[in-house]
């Protein structure tokens, strides 16, 4: 088993280094890419903390929607197929509710706060 710092802690450290020390020191042409890299480190930090539980929850939600258990990747593939060609509006409405929750969890990793907006 690895010693500390754990993945989340290291990613936090890397993000801080990139944003605080590297960014001011690079040529302007590189700044945007360094910012993006720092942001990716923060995304990965959140993913390492939140990802496993989010995947388990998604798996649970999809099992409820599809009516059977399965590996997450398979469930998602099945749901995609059924939604693309389906005619069952009730199923689609239920899927919409589930997907809102799934994407909300994805956003907690990828971009916290993006789900504050619920308009069109």
């Amino acid at each position: 088993m690895q010693y500390r710092p754990n993945a989340a802690e290291l990613l936090q450290t890397i993000a801080d280094l990139l944003e605080v020390e590297v960014l001011p020191a690079v040529p302007p042409a590189l700044a945007h890419r360094v910012r993006v890299a720092g942001n990716l480190a923060r995304i990965l930090e959140r993913e390492s903390r939140l990802g496993p539980a989010a995947d388990r929850n998604e798996q649970h939600l999809l099992a409820g929607l599809l009516g059977h258990e399965g590996e997450l990747a398979d469930q998602r593939a099945e749901l995609s197929r059924r939604l693309r060609t389906g005619e069952d509006r009730a199923f689609e409405a239920e899927a919409w509710q589930v997907l809102v929750e799934v994407v909300r969890a994805d956003l907690a990793v990828a971009k916290p706060g993006h789900d504050r907006w619920e308009g069109s």
């Binding site: 939604l83 990828a110 069109s120």
Partner: protein, 376 residues
């Protein structure tokens, strides 16, 4: 527009802006060197039959694929047409030689001229050059229009001066004037998607792009099914479409909208509601989520401006194109991640695009909310 475009700042996919594209340093990086000044003086001198001196040459690329050189041209006597000035404030927009253009540069210049004649605010183009030898690539020279173009600075300016409704109205009016042009007058070389129903073509392209996804995305499948079920009939009138009007392709000053830029993706014919919907997407509001049009204002002044200029606003069709545009953008981001992973375009920004897909899925799901046809 094609989806899943590998080029990050084409008008057809996730393009130049604060959060998209590979950023500065990719592509040609002119530095205002003496060779460029000589090339410009040479070309303009020949074109205008004048003695031309180039001054104050500087580069303003902001990470775009094309390079923009700002400069002053001092003439020994004024042009026959124009203001009678002997110093012109100009921009040379240089295209990379290595890339296939969406439209030939001459067609792009011609459609801008057509739009200009129709009253759309667009910087006047003085000349187009296809010869690489002057500045290293094909280029055109246009009048420099001062003002802000970086989206968040535009929004700051707009809020400082209380211009939100005016700019939204001006955007609507600009599109209305463009769409009033008889498409038969469009340059012959402008990309023509053909006579098929634009919505059907766009959905087919989106389905193709979705088939390339590296992993299934149920939200995208739900969106595609919705688009199919609600497919609009062909538009009552096809028009020239700009294809990328948005906050990010505008120049705005204290007096309002001064120019609509980036005509490289224009099409000879399309559904005008596609053009009208694009600027209203959430990603072009730059966090001013409650102001539907570019973060400037809600849709009322925008629609009013569009209709005053002769356009016909169709709310249902508009909503369909909002859904399509959101989906297309998400697929484009997914395509950028794929291009990074398979080696076509290895770049951290392209890679990061894959992690932005959930943002567009959220926006898509909100648009598909059963009660969501009103403006927000």
């Amino acid at each position: 527009m094609t989806t899943a475009a590998a080029r990050p700042d084409a008008g057809t996919g996730p393009s130049a802006g604060p959060d998209a594209g590979p950023g500065p340093g990719v592509g040609p990086a002119p530095d205002g060197s003496p060779d460029l000044a000589v090339g410009l003086a040479d070309f303009l001198g020949t074109t205008w039959d004048r003695r031309v001196t180039i001054a104050n040459l500087s580069s303003s690329s902001a990470g775009a694929r094309r390079s923009n050189l700002l400069f002053d041209a001092q003439l020994d006597r004024p042009l026959d047409t124009g203001t009678g000035a002997t110093t012109l404030h100009l921009v040379a927009t240089i295209l990379p030689t290595s890339e296939i253009q969406l439209n030939p540069i001459t067609a792009e210049a011609d459609v801008r001229g057509l739009a200009e004649q129709a009253g759309v605010p667009v910087p006047h183009i003085h000349a187009v050059c296809l010869d690489d030898s002057y500045v290293g690539g094909p280029f055109f020279v246009s009048d420099r229009v001062d003002g802000e173009s970086v989206p968040r600075r535009v929004l700051r300016l707009v809020h400082e001066h209380g211009l939100g409704e005016r700019v939204a109205a001006q955007m609507g009016e600009a599109l209305g004037r463009l769409h009033a042009v008889d498409p038969a007058l469009a340059p012959a070389e402008l990309i023509d998607p053909g006579p098929g129903n634009p919505a059907e073509l766009a959905l087919a392209a989106a389905d193709e792009a979705a088939a390339e996804l590296l992993a299934p995305r149920p939200a995208i499948s739900l969106g595609l099914r919705w688009l199919e079920r609600h497919l609009p009939s062909p538009p009552p009138r096809r028009t020239i479409v700009h294809y990328d009007v948005r906050n990010g392709n505008l120049i705005v000053g204290p007096d309002g909208l001064r120019a609509v830029l980036d005509w490289e993706g224009a099409r000879r014919q399309g559904d005008p509601m596609e053009d009208v919907a694009w600027p209203s997407l959430r990603m072009w509001r730059f966090r001013e989520d409650e102001r539907e049009i570019g973060g400037f204002a809600g849709r009322e002044p925008y629609v009013a401006g569009y209709e005053a200029a002769g356009g016909t606003f169709d709310a249902e069709r508009f909503h369909w194109w909002k859904v399509l545009g959101t989906l297309r953008w998400g697929l484009g981001l997914a395509g950028q991640a794929a291009a990074h992973l398979d080696g076509r375009f290895v770049n951290v920004v392209m890679a990061a695009s894959g992690r932005r897909v959930p943002e567009l899925e959220w926006d898509l799901l909100m648009l598909l909310r059963p009660d969501s046809m009103g403006g927000d």
